[in-house]
Every structure is written in structure tokens, then in C-alpha cells.
């Protein structure tokens, strides 16, 4: 791993967070290609953060992954989905500004990449009913 670049493990964490944000589930739902695209975009964005903020951010990803060990005895990526959601909510809506900002960045990038992905855009095209669109965006548009 090059200093300042995401490791594979960190990318997995980002991928799970992105899926949870978009889809409400980290284990099912999104098309693989879309998920890869979203993860790649989020990872690129994180790697594009100015260096003086990137290094702390990478540390925060690692911290995010391993802190659940203290409560659940397992890292974030190995938690049951409900625990993952609760844990993510603690970071995104909690009282600490830094943790909120941490999630905000991933959430914003993931949503942007997802909803501007050609496949999603196609599903959103006018002329297709919400129900049609809903079939392509099962866990986002028609929850």
C-alpha cells in the first residue's frame, strides 16, 4: 500500500458504508457493476483529498473499521447488518462533528456517483413510471 492511498481493506469499508447509505443494506441489492463504480468513485475522492487531511482520513477509516471490536468483538465489516446500520448512524448523527463529517463525505460521494451512474440515470429517465424506475432502483427510489 502506497502512503496516502487506500488499502484493499479500507476500500471494502468504504464500499460497505456506501451500500448502507444508498441501499440501506450492505449485503444485497445493488448491481455489482454499479457498486464497483460507486466504490471506485468514493475511493478516488478520498484519495483526492489534500494530503494533510487525507492521512487523518485514512486513519479514521481504519478506526471506523476496528472500533466495533470494543463493543461487538468484531470489526465493522463482519457485523450483522443491523449492527452496521446502528454503528453507522452513531457516526453520522452523533454528537461529534468529526465523525459526522467523516460519514458526510462518503455519503455525498456515494449518492452522487450512484444517482449519476448511467444505469441509474436511465432508470430515472422521464417516460418511465416511478414503478418502472423502482424496479431498477429497488432499495433507493421506492422504499
Amino acid at each position: 500500500m502506497k502512503l496516502g492511498h487506500l488499502s484493499e481493506a479500507q476500500e471494502v469499508v468504504l464500499s460497505k458504508i456506501a451500500a448502507l447509505v444508498i441501499d440501506g443494506s450492505s449485503t444485497a441489492g445493488m448491481d455489482d457493476a454499479v457498486q464497483r463504480y460507486v466504490t471506485r468513485f468514493v475511493a478516488l475522492q478520498v484519495e483526492n483529498i489534500p494530503a494533510y487531511l487525507r492521512l487523518p482520513y485514512l486513519l479514521a477509516i481504519t478506526g471506523f473499521q476496528w472500533l466495533p471490536l470494543l463493543r461487538w468483538g468484531r470489526p465493522f465489516t463482519h457485523l450483522p447488518e443491523k449492527a452496521q446500520r446502528d454503528y453507522l448512524k452513531l457516526w453520522s448523527d452523533g454528537p461529534v462533528g468529526v465523525t459526522r463529517d467523516f460519514v458526510r463525505l462518503i455519503r455525498g460521494c456515494a449518492l452522487l456517483a450512484y444517482f449519476d451512474h448511467p444505469q441509474t440515470r436511465l432508470a430515472l429517465e422521464p417516460g418511465r413510471g416511478v414503478e418502472d424506475a423502482g424496479r431498477d432502483l429497488p432499495r433507493v427510489a421506492v422504499r
Binding site: 468513485f41 483526492n48 452522487l112 449519476d116 423502482g134
Partner: protein, 853 residues
């Protein structure tokens, strides 16, 4: 004028070793500069850090574009009491490739404000009009027209009209105004217009080249050091002039990295904005419509409200602050549109480089006024959207997922939203290297030349002195055109003047300075036929001036027929040889010198002592007949008592570093006289005032006008003063009276004045001339304040540091008075101007020359 990727740009490995002009950055400022200069025949190298992407073929708001065209992938954080996302381009064409292409002329109020606050010269609506017109023509700036307004703009307009608010349709740089915002090639960005224009005129473009630093030495830019993004190889490009046009963030970062820091990166202004989504009953089709058209001007300049670019991804981002509550709204994306409320930020941010990296730390603390304006702006936006028929409004504010009524919106204006809850962004940044003559704020002169440099320029949004309250692209381009043309004019003028007449009769060093300019003006004026000047027979003679490379000789340029320039430096023997060429038997007025160095006292030694030595050596070698050297009161310090005056026989007692440098200068002049190779006369003027005075002297008037000028003690301490014409008379007489050879003379007004009389005289003149009545109560401080300032000044100068304000304050409780009896007796000197007449002329000159009192 479309250009594909293949047509423009050169491979980085072909970087040249030298160019006449290097332009760093290819955005609105850089592309305009390169096109203007290349069009005038200069050999221009244009370097751009970002890639050369054919933006005509990609959607500038797509994820792909964000990755390829945006700096930091659109993730440039502005840190402070609330983080703000700043978005800028990093590609050929800069931010013009990713912005909305809106075009605004500079609002009229800015002209006056900038002239007053920043002492910005040569800047007014008439002066800038042709440049705005040219930009509008070249970028096909046009209106869409109501008949083609998209649905999201239509409902917005109806809402505004229902409320009776003022609004405008904003013109855009777009060839086919009806085309979609994302239509290929529709927007007339720099890559579509000025970059190809520059290349067609011979400029060479290199993309993917990162500038590490500007190389410079003793006030002269030598070139740039770059690294190519592909392989990281370092390379140096030497240049005659360097224009830094990297935008309001990267320009100050590069200059500071290069060691150029004075007033650089301290004055960042931005337009923070907050966005909101609105849900309507009808289909908005916002994603397929052209960019929003209208801006609400009802609350401008404090608050601007308008439409924002829409994509489903952008909508999701706006909703993401309350995503759990609002995610379901994505179902109704086609009935939604995006809008913003922006404010003219009241704070001032800073830009600092991060050691060991090209990284930049941007800081900006939101003020309470910003918080209030954004809260009110959001409230007004919500009110407008409900008037337009919105069913719900979703602000990008954490904890406020939705607004359902006007009343809820108005509550935001009453109970301001904490900025920590707002999701803020900005696309407008400027003012990080403000231009103007105000030494306290400005990084460059009024035409973008970095203060203290002869050939280093800034020419982008950094120059804009403060927030214009509108999209700055038009202003940036107009200023860039004006500055580039000014550069061309000055360079050509200087080149023409280098052709010297074979036999000048009068030589002047320091001519573009205050005293020298006035001397040239008098020698060239009609007045020369009569009075002391007529008797001197010097008027109308051929004059040659030594002009420092960093000086602007515009005030003496109007006497072009009789005056020629020689660009050089008193500390540079080569330029002095050229200056004295063919001048055998001529008279020399040596006025070049430094009174207030920018920071280091060693400058005094370099210019006042070394410079004088070199001037004298060169003058003697050239056979100059007589030199009149301008000294000062400082070699003699302060009078021991308020009623004492200095005479020519008073002993040296130099005051601080400046006094020591001038004593040394006098010693050198006396040695030259003793050598028998040249005649010398020393002139000692005290505090002087009058036409061509620098801004610091105008500040003296302004402080009196505002009742802020400090009178230390009882104000009975006396100062000799000298109106600049009186000094010129003394200099001319010293040059022409045969018996003056080897002598020194105090040249001042008729008598010394107590400080309170000087202040009272200026107050009266201001009232008579300008109708301004200064406050009755003056600022009086204990005399000990002056002593304390003197002590601080002494400590600073011992450490080699100079601070003008401390130095001047230290002199304010001291008597510095002289007798002009010897000059009257031996030279026939008769000061023509009293304090009142002189101050009146000085105030008039300030008013006529745009120096705001």
C-alpha cells in the same frame, strides 16, 4: 472556435528552456493574458497543471468530469469555524470549463470603493468598458430570452414576480443560447475561445505541468521551476516576465511557496452559498433544461438568490444532509429543481502552502453577519419557492429536513441557523492578492505587477480587491486584458526610451519617485520660462532619467519629447554605465534613495550608500560636471530643544538606520568633491509634501480628516517641512550657482511649524477645498508614546527590521527644525510656497489624481 484535444497543446517533454513570457494557468485570467500577449507578438509559453481534456465532448457536471476536470475531485475544503466545499477546475481552461458560464459586468459601486480603499489607479467604468465589450463579443455572451425559458426557471420567475422582487436574467457565455447546459461545445469556455486564440498567435501550451516555484532574485523574476505530472522530472523555464494566473487559491500558494509573501494570501474573499431542493406539482424536467436563468436582485449585494444546476446526483447530495428522512423524495426527482442563496462573505480568509507538498491550507471563518445573511437568504428563497408553487422545500441544513410553509421559512430569518448545521459550498474565490497602491493591503500595483518586482505579475481573480457580489469571470477577464495591454504599452515605451540621445544635459536618478517626477515636470513645464527656473536656464534641456525596473514612469511619460528613460538600478554598475553614456559635462541630480524600506534595514545600505558610491564612481568616470545629491534631516537626528534649529554647521547625530545611511552618503559625496574630479552640492530637505506624493502621505491627510492623526504631548514640538516645489527650487539653484560647489544646504519652507499648526492648517485646507470638517476633537496621546515607539523602533532596527508606522510614530514627539539662512544667502533661495499654499496644492493634486483622502 472549437478545439479538439489533438489540435492544441504540446507534449510536456518539449518544454522549452526559455521564453519571453511565461503564463502560469490557463483559466479566465491566464488564457486571456496569453491570448493578448501572444496577439501582440510576444513569445508566450502557457503552462497548465491539469490535463488537456476536450471539454466540448463531455458533460461538465458528470462524475467523469468531476474526476478529470475538478481540483481534488471537487473536494477542496475551506477550513474555519465551519468547513466550506470549494470547487474549482484543474484542466486547460480552468474553472471556465466547469462553471455555469454566467457573465456579469463589475457592479458600479466597486469602482469607487476600490479606488478609495485600495488606492486602485487607472480604473473606472469608462476605462473598463472596452474590455467587457471585447469579452462579451469573443465569448458570445447572450440572453436566452423568456420565450425559451426552461420550466424550473419559469416557475422561479413567476414566484419572484408574485412577490414583486427585482430580478435579472443573467447573460451566459454560450454560442447557442437554447442549447442544453450540457450540450457539447455550447458553452464558450477558455478552451473553446482564448486558449485556441493564444495558440493561433503562436503561444505554446503545455498541460500536465505543475509549477513548483517562481525563480527570482533581487526583485526580478527569472523564470519558473516545473515538474511534469507524468514523470515528475524537474525543469526550469527562464523568462523575461512571469504572469501567475493560477486563480485565487493557487496563485497565492505558488507565490508564497516561492518566498513572495507581502500581502499575498491574506485577504481571501468568497461567496458562501447554501442550496435547497424544491418539490413542485408539475414536471420540472430540470435535468434536461438549460442552466437556470434568473437571479433575484432584491437583496443584492448582501444576498443573491438563483437557480442551480440539476442532476439526480446533485439532488441526492442536497437531500443527503437528512438522507434518512428525505431519501424517498428521490422517487419524485422529476418534479424537483435546485436553487441557492448566496452571500457576499464579510470575512477575510487566508491561504498558506503546506511544507513539503504543493498542498494548500485555506482558512475562512464565517462571521455572524454571514450566518445571518445565509439564514435570511434561505428564508427568502423558501418564501419565493412557495410563492412559485412549491409543495415543499428541502434545505441542505442538517436537522431541517423539510419546510412546508412560508411561516417556517420566515422563522429561519428570525432564529438564525447555526453555520455548523449548514452544508456550505462556494465556487467564487478572489482577492487573495489584491491590486492597488495601498501598501497595507495590496500585493500588486494597480496593474498586477507584484510590489517590489519588476517583471512578476499576477493576472487573475486574485487581483480583484474585494467581493464584487457577482460571478467574477467577466471582471477577471476584463482586468486581465487591461493589465496585459498595460504591460505591452510599458514594455514598448521602455524599449523605445532605451535609445538614448547622444548628449543629455541633465541626468536624474530616482526620477519616477516623488521628488524626481516633480523636478522633471517643472523642468519641462511652461513655467520654465520665468522666475527662478527661467533664470537657471535649465528648463527645456534634454533630460535623461534612470528608472528602476520596478518603477512605473507614467507621470513623467507625458513629457516624452524632452525626457528619455534608461532602465536600471543605482546598485547595478552596468546600467549606470549606460545611463551616463555620452553625458560628459552634464548636471546630475541624484535623488534615488530609500526612506522607508519594506522590511529589512539592509536595503537602506544597499541603495543609499552602495548605490550612491556607484553613481559617484560612474559619474566621475563619465565626466559629469556637478552632482546635486539629495540627503535628509536624519543624519542630524533631533533638535535638543523645541526652539533650536539645525544649521549647516550642526554636527552629525544620525537617527536610526536611515540617518546612518544618509550620513554615509554625505561622506561619499564630500570625498568625491575632495577628489577634484566632480563638483558636488548636498541638499537636505526635511519632511516634504506636494504633487506626486505617495499613498502614505495621503494617509496623513486622511488621518487628519478622520481625527485619527496622533498629536503627541502638547503639540508644540516643531517640524521643518518643505513643499516639493520649494525643494526643486533649491536643487536647481544648487546645480547652477557656481559658489555652491562643495557646500551643503538645508532646503525647507520659510520656517518650522509646531505640529498642532500643521494639523490645524491641513484641517482648514480640507474644509476650504473639499468642504470636509474634520472632527473637533483631535487624537492626543502622551509624549511617552513617542518615546516608547522610538525604543521599539530601535530594537527592531537593531535586529535589521524596519516598521514604517513605528518609526514615524517615534518621530512624532520630536523637534526636527532647520534654518534655511545659508541657502537664502548663498543660493538666493526664496521658498515660494507657504505651508497653507503647499497643503492646498497637495490636496488638489490628490483629488485630481484619484488619491482618495
Amino acid at each position: 472556435m472549437s478545439a479538439s484535444e489533438e489540435q492544441i497543446g504540446l507534449a510536456a517533454e518539449n518544454l522549452p528552456a526559455r521564453a519571453q513570457i511565461v503564463v502560469v494557468g490557463s483559466g479566465a485570467g491566464g488564457a486571456t493574458t496569453a491570448a493578448t500577449l501572444a496577439g501582440e507578438g510576444y513569445d508566450v509559453v502557457l503552462v497548465e497543471e491539469g490535463p488537456n481534456v476536450d471539454t466540448a465532448t463531455i458533460d461538465s457536471n458528470s462524475v467523469d468530469a468531476i474526476e478529470r476536470l475538478y481540483r481534488n475531485g471537487g473536494m477542496t475544503p475551506v477550513l474555519g469555524n465551519q468547513s466550506i466545499a470549494y470547487v474549482e477546475g484543474r484542466c486547460v481552461g480552468g474553472s471556465t470549463e466547469i462553471n455555469s458560464g454566467f457573465w456579469h459586468r463589475l457592479p458600479p459601486d466597486c469602482y469607487h470603493r476600490w479606488r478609495t480603499d485600495f488606492l486602485l489607479e487607472d480604473f473606472g467604468p469608462e476605462r473598463m468598458e472596452p474590455y467587457f465589450e471585447r469579452g462579451e463579443r469573443d465569448l458570445s455572451v447572450s440572453l436566452l430570452g423568456r420565450e425559451r425559458e426552461p420550466q424550473s426557471s419559469g416557475v422561479f420567475r413567476r414566484g419572484i414576480e408574485k412577490l414583486g422582487w427585482g430580478y435579472v436574467e443573467v447573460p451566459r457565455c454560450q454560442k447557442d443560447p437554447s442549447a442544453s447546459a450540457f450540450s457539447a461545445g455550447a458553452k464558450q469556455s477558455m478552451r473553446q475561445t482564448y486558449v485556441p486564440k493564444a495558440i493561433a498567435s503562436g503561444a505554446r501550451l503545455f498541460a500536465g505541468v505543475s509549477v513548483k516555484r517562481v525563480l527570482h532574485d533581487q526583485g526580478r523574476a527569472l523564470g519558473i521551476e516545473v515538474s511534469t505530472n507524468g514523470n515528475g522530472h524537474r525543469h526550469t523555464i527562464r523568462a523575461d516576465a512571469v504572469f501567475v494566473c493560477g486563480g485565487a487559491i493557487q496563485t497565492p500558494a505558488l507565490l508564497r511557496r516561492s518566498g513572495v509573501k507581502r500581502n499575498v494570501g491574506n485577504n481571501l474573499c468568497i461567496h458562501p452559498m447554501i442550496k435547497a431542493a424544491a418539490l413542485f406539482e408539475e414536471d420540472m424536467a430540470a435535468h434536461a433544461s438549460p442552466l437556470p436563468m434568473y437571479q433575484v436582485k432584491e437583496f443584492w449585494p448582501t444576498i443573491t438568490i438563483g437557480g442551480s444546476v440539476f442532476t439526480p446526483g446533485f439532488l441526492a447530495m442536497i437531500l443527503s444532509d437528512n438522507w434518512e428522512r428525505n431519501r424517498a423524495m428521490m422517487q419524485q426527482w422529476d418534479r424537483m429543481a435546485l436553487y441557492y442563496a448566496g452571500t457576499r462573505g464579510m470575512s477575510r480568509g487566508s491561504i498558506r502552502g503546506i511544507p513539503g507538498d504543493n498542498g494548500v491550507l485555506i482558512r475562512y471563518d464565517m462571521t455572524e453577519a454571514d450566518q445571518r445573511n445565509l439564514s435570511v437568504g434561505l428564508a427568502r428563497l423558501g418564501e419565493l419557492l412557495f410563492a412559485a408553487g412549491a409543495k415543499a422545500v428541502f434545505p441542505s441544513v442538517r436537522g431541517i429536513p423539510v419546510l412546508h410553509s412560508v411561516e417556517q421559512c420566515r422563522a429561519l430569518a428570525r432564529n438564525y441557523i447555526p453555520t455548523s448545521l449548514m452544508n456550505l459550498s462556494t465556487v467564487h474565490a478572489f482577492s487573495s492578492c489584491p491590486m492597488g497602491e495601498n501598501p497595507d493591503f495590496c500585493a500588486t500595483d494597480s496593474h498586477g505587477r507584484v510590489h517590489g518586482f519588476s517583471n512578476l505579475y499576477v493576472n487573475d481573480a486574485s487581483l480583484i480587491p474585494d467581493s464584487p457580489g457577482v460571478n467574477p469571470q467577466g471582471t477577471t477577464m476584463a482586468i486581465a486584458m487591461r493589465n496585459s495591454e498595460n504591460f505591452v504599452e510599458n514594455t514598448r515605451r521602455a524599449a523605445a526610451r532605451r535609445v538614448v540621445h547622444p548628449h543629455p544635459e541633465i541626468l536624474i536618478t530616482g526620477a519616477p519617485g516623488w521628488l524626481g517626477t516633480r523636478l522633471v515636470e517643472l523642468l519641462s513645464s511652461e513655467r520654465g520660462a520665468s522666475g527662478w527656473l527661467g533664470r537657471s536656464l535649465l528648463a527645456g534641456k534634454r533630460v535623461r532619467c534612470l528608472v528602476h525596473p520596478t518603477a512605473d514612469p507614467q507621470h513623467i511619460d507625458r513629457h516624452a519629447e524632452k525626457v528619455e528613460f534608461c532602465v536600471g538600478d543605482v546598485a547595478d554598475p552596468d546600467s549606470l554605465r549606460q545611463f551616463f553614456q555620452g553625458a560628459e559635462g552634464a548636471l546630475l541630480f541624484h535623488g534615488a534613495g530609500i526612506i522607508h524600506p519594506r522590511l529589512w534595514t539592509r536595503e537602506l545600505e544597499r541603495v543609499n550608500v552602495t548605490g550612491t558610491r556607484q553613481v559617484l564612481d560612474a559619474a566621475m568616470a563619465a565626466g559629469i560636471r556637478r552632482v546635486v545629491a539629495v540627503s535628509s534631516n536624519s543624519p542630524f537626528g533631533n533638535n535638543a530643544a523645541p526652539d533650536e534649529v539645525f544649521t549647516e554647521d550642526s554636527p552629525y547625530h544620525p537617527y536610526m538606520s536611515y540617518g546612518r545611511s544618509k550620513r554615509e552618503m554625505e561622506r561619499l559625496v564630500q570625498q568625491a568633491q575632495a577628489s577634484g574630479r566632480i563638483e558636488t552640492v548636498i541638499i537636505r530637505p526635511p519632511w516634504f509634501y506636494g504633487p506626486h506624493q505617495p499613498p502614505r502621505q495621503t494617509l496623513f491627510f486622511r488621518m487628519i480628516k478622520e481625527g485619527r492623526f496622533p498629536i503627541l504631548g502638547n503639540g508644540e514640538q516643531r517640524r521643518s517641512m518643505a513643499y516639493v516645489d520649494n525643494i526643486c527650487q533649491g536643487m536647481v539653484l544648487a546645480a547652477t550657482v557656481a559658489e555652491a560647489s562643495g557646500r551643503a544646504y538645508w532646503i525647507a519652507d520659510e520656517r518650522p511649524y509646531p505640529i498642532h499648526e500643521i494639523v490645524a492648517t491641513v484641517e482648514e485646507v480640507l474644509e476650504e477645498e473639499l468642504g470636509i470638517r474634520p472632527p473637533a476633537k483631535r487624537l492626543t496621546l502622551p509624549s511617552a508614546v513617542g518615546d516608547f515607539a522610538t525604543a521599539v523602533d530601535g530594537i527592531l532596527q537593531f535586529a535589521g527590521v524596519y516598521n514604517q508606522k513605528v518609526h514615524v510614530l517615534g518621530e512624532m514627539n520630536k523637534t526636527i527644525a532647520c534654518s534655511i539662512a545659508r541657502a537664502q544667502a548663498e543660493l538666493g533661495y526664496q521658498p515660494e510656497f507657504s505651508l497653507r499654499e503647499g497643503m492646498r496644492a497637495a490636496v488638489r493634486w490628490c483629488v485630481e489624481n484619484g488619491q482618495q483622502i
